[in-house]
Homo-oligomer: 345 residues x 2
Amino acid sequence: MDKGQKEVTIYDIAEKLHISAATVSRGLTNHPRVSKSTRKSILKAAEEMGYRSNSIASNLRSKKSNVIGVIVPRLNSSFMSDLIAGVEKVVNNNNYSLFISQSLETMQKEVTNARAMLNNRVDGLLVSLAYDTTNIEHFEPFLKRNIPVIFVDRVFEHASCPQIFIDNTKAAYEITNHLIAEGCKNIIHLTASLLRNVYADRLSGYKKALEESGLQFRESNVIIGDLSSQAGIDAAAQILKMEKLPDAVFAANDICAVSCMIELQKHGIRIPEDIAFAGFNNDPTACVVQPNLTTVNYKGYEMGEVAAQLLINHLIDKSDLQQTHSLILRSELIIRESSLRSKKS
Amino acid sequence: MDKGQKEVTIYDIAEKLHISAATVSRGLTNHPRVSKSTRKSILKAAEEMGYRSNSIASNLRSKKSNVIGVIVPRLNSSFMSDLIAGVEKVVNNNNYSLFISQSLETMQKEVTNARAMLNNRVDGLLVSLAYDTTNIEHFEPFLKRNIPVIFVDRVFEHASCPQIFIDNTKAAYEITNHLIAEGCKNIIHLTASLLRNVYADRLSGYKKALEESGLQFRESNVIIGDLSSQAGIDAAAQILKMEKLPDAVFAANDICAVSCMIELQKHGIRIPEDIAFAGFNNDPTACVVQPNLTTVNYKGYEMGEVAAQLLINHLIDKSDLQQTHSLILRSELIIRESSLRSKKS
DNA sequence: TACTTTTAGGCAATCGATTACATTTTGAAT
DNA sequence: ATTCAAAATGTAATCGATTGCCTAAAAGTA
């Protein structure tokens, strides 16, 4: 089973027009050193003959692929798919293509994927790290080759890699303060691997808020899981077993917050009267669940756009990436009924 | 700003080991005609020298890229991101890579994206069509070259393109029948472009159920939009203006169903007492919204896995794709409170 | 020992486009 | 008609790996 008839190449066009392949190549790429009339005849012949530029050959020779690589923990999360959609839009509008892979939250796959990206000679890389990634040596080969690597959301400190994220500490600080202002004094925090800035920072914002309000931070109030829907259910079970019920739960994402909340409701807990709730991300479910979930609005789409644009600008005009080391995007606290206790009391 | 120091090639390895590049190439690809000892020394040298296989060069010569292309309407929908996650898993496990682009529901972008995929010489293509795609001439160049094209979910009838989807007619028939069994007689159907099988088939299942129950089908009961969250809100407004309120709404996806339902609730409509609701897809929100939404379970992840596996099997063992023309996956009706009126009456 | 087969490895063309450099053509100015 | 810069095109090397065909060496066989 072969690829059907032979492909039309620039040589075929050259032969037909009795000109050289070099001129054809120039004609097809709008090189200024080819006359208008020749270009026109080249384009016409290309069209007629069903010519399809072979990017692979072009990439090999020109040592650039016009491909951006993306490595994310998972593709099927509301946040990540938004992020990727934003990236795709920008990348596509700039005539680049997108190579995508997911690490499934393991460093091992992240390493494998990075290697595949390198072999495929992507021009740049956008990365959001897996839960258990402990170092980023697997990106060194890119940096050594001056291939830009940009971290998004789940970042890692490295002199030559720009980072794009939000101020997680501040956001968590604000949301915790809000809960405290609503009268909560015993706040559970659901989170995931503290290796990741997003979770470590949210935890520190939470701690800071407690501290400033003179509330004691208790290690046992931090439940570390994978922030999945199941993790929320498990956390609910754990909470129900506590000798003294907490008066608030702040989860590091909405998925987990919502499932935990619903599970607790099934056991007769009233939200927010018995336990106030807050999440993170402003997932679609946040304003569907009853009561609507207080959360941090933090949409991936723009983050994806910004990251992709930064990368592409660099690739196009070679602007110095080091200039922009960290890009901190805006996030906002969205207060909904799940945390509003003061009105009721 | 160049790519740093020169890349290590098989020639460098060959020179160092005083053997030919051909042998190095064979050694690296586990070709049987190279001795164990030479292979070992090649691998060792490659490792030491930091050799990275250049897939581009390899692709050019071997005329195969080990890349699968995917074109979907959007990346940031729960269903599509699940589907892509399934595809990615299978593709990745088989040492292929993934090229992804979104058509944003327009045929124009679909055409452009297809061309980019072709230029990049993908080995195969998975496609889910845009709303307004009227023909699939843009995939002919693939077929002419014997590059397999498989349609997923939003399919198109074509002799050489396998299709993977669910029985939308049957699912819609069942869900409509269920609503009728619950006593509904005036059922609104929210859907999108009838150019797409998924929506046309659901409509015909809806019609068939009405017909068989002796209920009259009314054109004015079908509201065509884009099934977005906003479309649900718009539909709610339209419904509220009707001289006689419907007693059920069956939306062709959950996003739209949920937003429509919530909007109606805001206007004092009780679900399911006043209006029963049903959606399609079993999105995460379906079991978060109150009351939980009756829907069709129809997860994209497995569909993605199946599609990718079919494609890859074909690429690997050249099994005849024509063998499997249509693959109809299982779907199931999930009845939840949003449509349960009989108990209450 | 002589001959055949197997195994390991080398040679060189090839994939298709790009591009530095060389050459020819054009056209304007003298 | 001559000159010369500018414009247009051609030549040929190059990117890095693969592979059909060939040869040499090793192993097996009689």
